[in-house]
Amino acid sequence: MSADIVEEEYAVIRKCLAGDADQYAVLVDTYKDLAYNIAFRMVGDADVAKDMAQESFIAAYNALEDFKFNSRFSSWLYRIVVNKCRDHFRAGRETVPVDEICEYVAGPDRSPEQAAACRQTGDVVQQALNGLPPDYREVIILKHIEGLDYKEIADSLGVSVSALKVRAHRGREMLRKLLEGLGVTL
């Protein structure tokens, strides 16, 4: 992202802070797909993801006075979306029955027909992501789906780069096993 675009974003945020709420639509339009995609990959459900992403934008707006004009709005938004999804999990509102997936993946009696049926029932990648613990899932999504570097993820999530690498390492190993268990040829 160029410095000009960052400055344009800062100008929009300042207008919002000055009371021009309509300007916030500019930021929402710019980042809505990104926020929704992260939320969807985190929770695995379209309706919940929409709620999480919309609530994140509203939370960001409410906390706009706290925005430090030394980072990108998107970095700030990542943190809010991930925290919203964490709150969702903590509240026990996990949308996808992870136990079922893990049990299914680990099941020794799974036939090729069952694996094929599983592949056809939906997004296998999403099923595998749902099988990851949330800590691993968020770093895999931000690093390997959104393409962020570790420094940016560390800044967004408030976790050290070394801790993130450990999570990514374990997450990749687990993801591989989950995908293989779901019948994906790697």
Partner: protein, 219 residues
Amino acid sequence: MKDGKELDKEIIHRLLDGDLGPDEKTALMDQIQADPALKEEFDGLTGALHAIEKSERMPAPPFFTAGIMRRLPARKAPIGNRVRDFLLKGRVLRWNMATAFAATMLLALVFTQAVRTRNTPVETAAVSQQEQTVTVTMNLHAPEAHQVAVAGTFNKWKADAHPLARQENGLWTITIPLKPGEYSYMFIVDGKAWVTDPNAETYSDDGFGNKNAVMRVRT
């Protein structure tokens, strides 16, 4: 203590994290080619990453932005901005019948006095007519657009009657005077794409499978 296999796996993850230098990378790739077990490990991990990296990106659903904008709380602007907005910004006024009646009577009184004292009925009538309209501002965020216009029941759906002005941040805007009433409208982007206002007060079916934005102008 980690065995040789664990160390090999660790170095594969360092490669996936982009932490290996060119020489280390070349040495690892040679090692992978020579060791079938290590190659299987490498292929499994890179295959898993490839699967998620190429997975479909999920776009936000329709009316996502409007759903947020409707729920934003009011933010108190600095006093200077509020005074400026009060004086200059277009707004929809909501009156009850009693206030409207009182205002009409007052207007009639002013009108009568003006006719009596200045004997310029035409000018006064014009002012009176102007006060029957309300200035309304419409916005559309379309940074990629080259031109945006608004058409609706207030201009008989003429696509070129009311072009919007572009601001620096990709927000297109227009302020027009309208008489009180309910108006359906849509934006026309680049002269061809009819776009429903995502921030409209309400919507109605247009009979062609799309939705018109609807605004209610009140005095």
